[in-house]
């Protein structure tokens, strides 16, 4: 009965809060117009737009409402502006910020052309 080794293990791990997302960038809103203008003028390959849009439709159904808006048939400018605002973290939404961060300007143009013509 001599030796006693101790490990006190908390069976439940405490949830450590992680700092919230990056701050909103103040100047971003002013840049939207310039961005929309520039991206609207890019040439797009419709076949590329079709392909790129396919992950979007997993969530944005044609009849979507409420939690996730339908984006089919929206004006191209509105789509470009929205994606820019997610990219620049003006708009909140973790999924859309992640989606937008992976899109190049050409991608944004192709998606806007695709959905505006649905």
């Amino acid at each position: 009965m001599v030796k006693v080794f101790i490990t006190l293990a908390a069976a439940m791990l405490a949830g450590l809060p992680v700092p919230a997302g990056a701050e909103e960038k103040a100047g971003a809103a002013a840049d939207v117009e310039a961005y929309v203008q520039r991206v609207s003028e890019l040439a797009v390959d419709p076949a590329y737009g079709d392909y790129l849009s396919s992950p979007c439709t997993s969530c944005h159904g044609a009849n979507a409402a409420g939690g996730i808006p339908a984006i089919q048939g929206q004006p191209a400018e509105a789509i470009i502006a929205a994606l820019y605002e997610y990219k620049s973290e003006v708009r909140e939404n973790a999924v859309m910020r992640s989606v937008a961060s992976a899109l190049s300007d050409e991608d944004v143009a192709a998606l806007a052309a695709h959905f505006s013509q649905q």
Binding site: A9, M12, P17, Y51, L52, C59, A64, S101
Partner: protein, 437 residues
């Protein structure tokens, strides 16, 4: 309007709408199963009509404008999703609302739906053998059978034992057994859940299930029942979020123990309602045993798996590393950083369909992009999510940007997150089965 040609080329041209009407009227002119008719188009056969396979079939048919002959083989008439089966368990939905048919894929997309089990693939002859002996020829094959449960990975567990102690890790009857038994519990009766080792279908799934079972017990005013969660893993998906949620919504009801406490899961005695661990025996009136998993049997039978029991693929296309005419998508594949989820399977299906079309019809091939979001419900209006975008990098599907809900978020944000998941479900079903709600 897309034209769907009769396969022999001699018959009339049917518009999509006329075709739909014919099919609706009994399809008398199409009495001969289409996969037995003469072929003049490249043939793509899809094994498995779940999240991955049905999406692949739909995108192949939709985007090739009738240039491909697409056959979808599924062993059941209808498909009950595992996604949202926890929501059903929690009493927020009925089983009907998570069960879907293939009618639209047949009538609107001209897909040949075969109800049957694929038992073998002759990779040299490029044919799929059905259990009734029929052979179906393919130019490209998509293998999307989902997972199989490795029953004997837990001593004392078996397919038969699962009738009493359900795994409910495949949709349909198993989920119903779990629901019936959950609803029959009385206050003070406990649940013991054994969660699977990695890799397995739906990483947050077991913990969402814990939450939904706790919701049912709490909603009935139970204060004495407990849910013991026995985990072979040190940590799990969205752990901080789930544990915070359990403490907030179900204090004292959920006890999660990892291997540092319980040691090994030594075995189950279903009749006695007991799970034996290296530490102690846990007893419950309801056992939910989720064993280890591997790719569906057909992938094993066709030798598409490696030593992990899952199928290695080319990250740029979802093509099997073992066979250039075969693509493996969904839970059966080894998809790098992507979790095994319905969303992942749906995303992988689109990349595979794009690659197959490029090979067979000469359409453009684009760089692979994948996406996934897994939503989980912890308690009414308390939804959380985790997800990422992915691209191939260094031979593996690699996450390029990830996100996860944070502990301590506002109730408003959590409610929005849940509402997203509801729209996602309907959109995902429309995207997979072509059903417009």
């Amino acid at each position: 309007m897309t034209l769907i040609k009769d396969r022999r080329g001699a018959g009339p041209l049917l518009t999509r709408r006329t075709f739909g009407l014919l099919a609706g009227a009994g399809a008398a002119t199409l009495a001969l199963p289409s996969y037995l008719r003469a072929q003049d188009k490249p043939r793509v056969v899809v094994i498995g009509g779940g999240a991955g396979g049905a999406t692949a079939a739909r995108y192949l048919a939709k985007d090739s404008d009738g240039a491909l002959d697409v056959t979808l083989i599924n062993n059941t008439e209808t498909y009950t999703t595992c996604f949202f089966s926890n929501i059903y368990l929690g009493g927020y939905r009925d089983l009907q609302s998570i069960t879907h048919g293939y009618d639209a894929l047949v009538s609107q997309y001209g897909i040949n739906k075969v109800t049957g089990t694929a038992v073998a693939i002759d990779r040299d002859a490029k044919t799929v053998r059905l259990e009734d002996g029929t052979d179906i020829a393919y130019d490209r094959l998509v293998v999307a059978p989902g997972i199989d449960i490795i029953y004997d990975s837990i001593a004392g567990y078996s397919e038969e034992a699962a009738e009493t102690a359900p795994h409910a890790w495949k949709g349909g009857p198993q989920t119903e057994i779990l629901k019936t038994r959950l609803d029959a519990l009385e206050d003070g009766q406990n649940i013991v859940m054994v969660t699977p080792p990695n890799p397995y279908r739906c990483p947050p799934g077991p913990y969402e299930r814990v939450s939904m079972m706790a919701h049912v017990l709490k909603a009935k005013g139970y204060t004495q029942s407990k849910i013991f969660v026995l985990d072979p893993k040190e940590t799990f998906s969205k752990q901080a979020l789930f544990q915070e949620g359990w403490e907030t919504h179900y204090p004292g009801m959920v006890e999660w123990y990892g291997p540092d406490v319980i040691g090994e899961i030594a075995g189950v005695d279903v009749a006695a309602g007991a799970v034996e661990t290296g530490f102690d025996t846990f007893e419950g009136a309801l056992l939910n045993i989720i064993p280890a998993q591997r790719a569906g049997a057909i992938a094993v039978e066709a030798d598409l798996v490696n030593e992990t029991g899952f199928c290695p693929i080319d990250a740029a296309s979802m093509k099997s590393s073992a066979d250039e005419n075969i693509y493996v998508i969904g839970d059966a594949s080894i998809a790098g950083d992507m979790p095994k989820s319905g969303f992942s399977a749906n995303s992988q299906a689109k990349v595979a369909a794009m690659s197959i079309r490029a090979e067979l019809t000469g359409s453009s091939a684009f760089p692979a992009r994948y996406a996934n979001t897994c939503w989980s419900l912890i308690e009414t209006d308390d939804g959380v999510k985790v997800g990422a975008q992915y691209e191939p990098a260094e031979g593996k599907i690699t996450a390029t940007s990830t996100f996860v809900s944070q502990p301590g978020e506002t109730a408003e944000l959590r409610k929005e997150t849940y509402e997203e998941s509801v729209v996602w479900y309907d959109s995902m079903i429309a995207d997979t089965f072509g059903i417009t709600a």
